[in-house]
Amino acid sequence: MANLKDIQRQIKSVSNTQKTTRAMKLVSTAKLRRAEELAKRSRLYSEKLNQVIAEIAGRLKCNKVGGINSRCFSDINNPKTVDIIFVTADKGLCGGFNIQTIKAVNKLLKEYKDKDVKVRLSGIGKKGVEFYKYNEVELYEAISNLSSKPDKKRSDKFIRTSIAEFKDGKVDAVHIVYNGFKNMMTQELHVNRILPVDTNKFDCEASEAQSMLEIEAQDDEKMLDSLVSKYVEYNMYYALIDSVAAEHSARMQAMDTATNNAADMVKSLNVKFNKARQAAITTELIEIISGVESMK
């Protein structure tokens, strides 16, 4: 028979944990609302920017724009060095949020390793960085305190090295892996190759009917260059804000489940406690009665 004191202590400890998880859930809900709003507003811009880039890239591929040969839009068949940038949270306690991203990164790493491609792994967010440090995987660049507070300037500074090195030919592809916000209940894993721009989706024949695309600037390449830089910078920033929203929704869910589990546990512990108490009372009664019987 379990000790009454022990059970009581357990109940107290579980309900204290429940208080903490409930508070964390409330905090995440409040933060999520703000992060979600930001992500929603930026989504439209990001989508349109991607569309414009995709269209330009597609038309370049279909030779509708003459004489431009930018590295950012050409398919590189045998990459030698690739950049993988992942975004995780700075904090844990958010369910499988970080692990999902790490798994996706590992899969990508393995794919490239099989092809004998050198991978430079860069990470934003303490959790992912710690994971790779623990597993003794070398990180090219590790940044913390950015994923919980996305900042356009810092994210631009970070991604600009990758853009510059890509343009110089030191890197042949840039991938961003992050867990994005889908809705309150689900997160969506994104593995995006942002450089070179993917042109495979574009259908050349469908665009036959449209007129030739004209790129108006003194220098076509300069225009494309600055557009691509903006595109990559914005995609990086968007990945950060989308990831923050997803992190909060994941934490909110995890903490909700934890609170419910704690409630269930307190309930079953209470039943156990009552049973134990009843058993103790019964034993005492029997003792008294048998004591009285023996005195007769």
Partner: protein, 130 residues
């Protein structure tokens, strides 16, 4: 009068999404106008004022700091980093928008002649509304 679909989008959301008769944009190599059925073109925009002539012939002005425009036969998509629309129900709202626009002009780093002309244009746009 034929119209086309015009969208002006900033990272903070849409600022304009409607049919327009014509739009004047501050391109890197000078201002240019777009009417319906313009041929496809993509170009960069610099700091300046976008004038939109709407279906009811009224003109709306939007200040932008940097952007890119993508024109095709059906629609015009303007992507900008920062933008303020000069519009409002009454004088004070317009004045507020003008203040906001001026703050944006100030934030544009490389000031020069272009900026001075932008400020002047803003004032005229606001005056026309009042």
């Amino acid at each position: 009068m034929e119209t086309f679909k015009l969208e002006i989008i900033t990272p903070n959301g849409e600022i304009f999404h409607d049919n327009a008769v014509s739009v004047t944009l501050p391109g890197e190599e000078g201002e240019f106008g777009v009417l319906a059925h313009h041929s496809s073109v993509s170009t960069l925009l610099e700091a300046g004022v976008v004038d939109i002539e709407k279906e009811d012939k009224t003109v709306e002005s939007v200040l932008i700091n940097w952007g890119v425009v993508h024109v095709d036969e059906q629609q015009v998509v303007v992507l900008v980093e920062g933008a303020v629309a000069i519009r409002g129900e009454n004088e004070s709202a317009i004045a507020d928008a003008l203040e906001e626009a001026k703050a944006l002009v100030k934030s544009i780093e490389d000031s020069g002649q272009a900026i001075a002309s932008v400020s002047a244009k803003l004032e005229t746009a606001a005056q026309n509304l009042i």
